[in-house]
């Protein structure tokens, strides 16, 4: 019979190796999936995990894309991880990402074509606020009425998508766009643009913010009282209760943090890589970030690595799509698998498993 004994200390060795095992398992099963689709699995895996960085033909395009796609994933996942630690499940980051972009875009477009230094900072604040306000809806409803934040935050994604559609064909549409949906290109409006800082690297302000976020939040989680409380709620909710941790404050804090980071990620994406607000602005970063948060074991530095890895599957997935005609959905399946394997291997970290027969007294 299987027996589970909680480990006294989480195994450090397994803590690091479990995600690696999960990635290897995903490669094996993903390879099997590609094989079933009639594609060469080894070629596909190499194209996804190796070629974007190492191939001389592709890496010139792919390497910058790696940073561009990792930045929003890391920013959003950093915020989510705090809530996940404290059992506060914001899964509506996609919506907060959209609202951040819409809020900052509205500011930028309202001031167009004014040229001033303060426009970009104003848009950053707008992006943060847009995300925070959208995340405050599930937070306040949870505090006031004990409403399930999972469902509310998720429902608000669909609402945000409709507002995005409304904006792209309506109030934010480019007046000079011949009636096509979509706003003005903010990346071409120098006061609002978030350009590539070092050419050929893909590094823009969002990428730098993601790095800063990792450093700040690592520090915060280790040394700040609220960071400690968040860890405490996750590991020993009763102890947290006795210690007088105000759960309402933690809910507000975690949802503001994740909403704000998702919002600012949307802002950087809008003013840089995406350029304009359009119906297809959001591409699922808010959902993939959930995987990133878990892959990084809810730890800021882990999330940094996980974000890069997940970005690799996106960029590599595009390559595989282009070179081997593997549909984009296959990559989504791949990412889903990864999350399953991660969650399953988590057992190894927290529990000691033995195959002893149970001893009867």
């Amino acid at each position: 019979m299987l027996r589970f004994e909680p480990r006294k200390n989480r195994s450090k060795f397994l803590e690091i190796s479990a995600p690696i095992i999960a990635v290897i398992m995903t490669m094996i099963f993903g390879g099997l999936l590609f094989y079933l689709m009639g594609k060469n699995p080894f070629e596909a895996i190499k194209l996804i995990f190796w070629d974007p960085v190492m191939s001389p033909t592709f890496s010139e395009y792919s390497r910058p894309q790696l940073a561009v796609k990792a930045a929003p994933l890391i920013l959003i996942a950093l915020g989510l991880s705090f809530g996940f630690r404290a059992n506060i499940w914001n899964i509506g980051a996609e919506g907060q990402y959209i609202m951040g972009a819409l809020a900052s875009g509205s500011i930028g477009l309202a001031l167009y074509p004014l040229q001033a230094w303060y426009i970009f900072p104003l848009m950053i604040i707008g992006g943060i606020l847009g995300g925070v306000i959208w995340a405050m809806i599930p937070a306040i409803l949870k505090i006031k009425f004990n409403t399930n934040e999972i469902l509310v935050s998720l429902m608000l994604v669909y609402v945000a998508e409709q507002i995005l559609a409304l904006a792209s064909v309506g109030f934010l549409r480019n007046p000079e766009g011949l009636g096509f949906p979509g706003s003005r290109d903010l990346s071409k409006y120098s006061s609002a643009a978030n350009p590539e800082l070092i050419s050929g690297t893909g590094i823009h302000l969002g990428v730098i913010s993601a790095f800063l976020g990792v450093i700040l939040l690592t520090y915060f989680l280790s040394y700040h009282r609220t960071g400690f409380h968040i860890k405490l709620i996750g590991q020993a909710p009763r102890a947290a209760n006795f210690a007088g941790v105000d759960l309402r404050y933690i809910i507000i804090f975690c949802l503001s943090l994740s909403g704000g980071l998702a919002g600012v990620a949307g802002m950087f994406e809008l003013t840089g890589p995406a350029g304009l607000i359009n119906i297809d602005f959001n591409v699922g970063y808010g959902f993939t970030a959930i995987i990133v948060a878990f892959l990084g074991r809810l730890n800021p530095i882990g999330i940094l690595l996980a974000g890069v890895l997940m970005s690799l599957t996106y960029v590599g997935g595009e390559l595989a799509q282009f070179m081997m005609n593997i549909p984009a959905a296959a990559i989504q399946v791949f990412q889903g698998m990864l999350l399953f394997f991660l969650l399953s291997t988590d057992l190894l970290v927290t529990y000691k498993i033995s195959f002893k027969t149970s001893i009867r007294k």
Binding site: V152, L339, L343
Partner: protein
């Protein structure tokens, strides 16, 4: 719009059609949650059932085979969730999210070459005599077999939890898995089974969506229906009959919204399209506000992992 009685009865009849996918999925989730498992993967199971049933119908020409495959599809993808949460004891919330992401991806992968095809029609079954009743006959007795099944299934689940030993065992496992275990019930096996049944129902709901309700395959066609089904279980306070009422109210909102869009009123399409989600939030708030004062009806072990054995 002509508001004559024929129109209204047709409207009510199509309300039932609109509500059935969510009703089926929510009923499955209700069974799962009664045993203390929170499966947030309803959306993923639904959409996988939708594409499994759709492909089977296109390939065989028979919607019946299609529905069978919807059920099998939903159950088989739920099997992964059961494996991960019950055997590997993974966190249920995260695993449910993984199931949704996985199901959405896998379905659009499989459905790649099936967009824009119309499946074989699924004929209605007019119940003799009863379907002849004026107005009521049109509303209730001129539907397809799946609708009758969904209503019978609600009744069956109602009586299962009220009158049968099995229902009591399921509830015991959901209320307190340690006590149920001490009484000699195999918590893991019972939950595993319930998850598969829940997946089968969600799959059937998805199949109904792609084979009857729409009927077509489009990527991500469930558009949050699975999440609304989850909300519906909360709304119904884990009671099957309330689930039926809730689903039909929700079907009404969806239909009203679509009809208003078709009428081309001055109301914005985007505003109408977001209304089902806003209504869901409103209902959730209303239910949880009422509940925070009274007793909690949720199964006590809901979402908690059982580490015994």
């Amino acid at each position: 719009m002509d508001l004559g009685d024929i129109q209204i009865s047709l409207l009510l009849a199509s309300l039932i059609v609109a509500a059935t996918p969510i009703l089926l999925a929510a009923l499955g989730e209700l069974i799962v949650e009664k045993t203390g498992v929170l499966n947030l993967g309803v959306e993923g199971m639904m959409i996988f059932g939708a594409i499994a049933g759709f492909i089977a119908t296109i390939e065989t020409g028979s919607p019946w085979v299609g529905f069978l495959f919807s059920i099998l599809g939903g159950a088989s993808i739920a099997f992964i969730f059961a494996l991960v949460t019950q055997i590997f004891r993974a966190n249920q919330v995260a695993s449910g999210l993984a199931l949704t992401l996985f199901g959405l991806g896998l379905s659009s992968l499989l459905g790649h070459s099936y967009t824009g095809i119309k499946p074989a029609a699924f004929s209605d079954l007019h119940i003799p005599i009863l379907s002849e009743i004026p107005i009521l006959g049109v509303i209730l007795f001129q539907h397809d077999p799946i609708i009758y099944f969904s209503i019978l299934a609600v009744a069956a689940v109602y009586f299962l939890f009220r009158n049968f030993r099995l229902g009591l065992i399921l509830k015991a496992v959901g209320e307190n898995h340690d006590s149920a275990h001490a009484l000699g019930y195999n918590v893991i096996v019972i939950r595993f089974g319930a998850i598969l049944v829940g997946g089968a129902f969600a799959g059937l709901g998805g199949g109904y969506l792609s084979l009857v309700r729409v009927p077509q395959w489009t990527e991500g066609m469930t558009a949050g229906a699975g999440w609304i089904a989850l909300a519906l279980v909360v709304f119904a306070s884990w009671q099957p009959l309330r689930l039926l009422i809730g689903a039909y109210i929700f079907g009404g909102v969806t239909l009203l919204q679509l009809n208003l869009q078709a009428l081309g009123l001055e109301i914005n399409v985007a505003l109408l399209s977001m209304s089902p989600y806003l209504v869901t939030i409103g209902v959730l708030v209303f239910m949880s506000a009422r509940r925070s004062r009274g007793s909690l009806e949720a199964p006590r072990s809901l979402g908690k992992t059982f580490f015994g054995l």
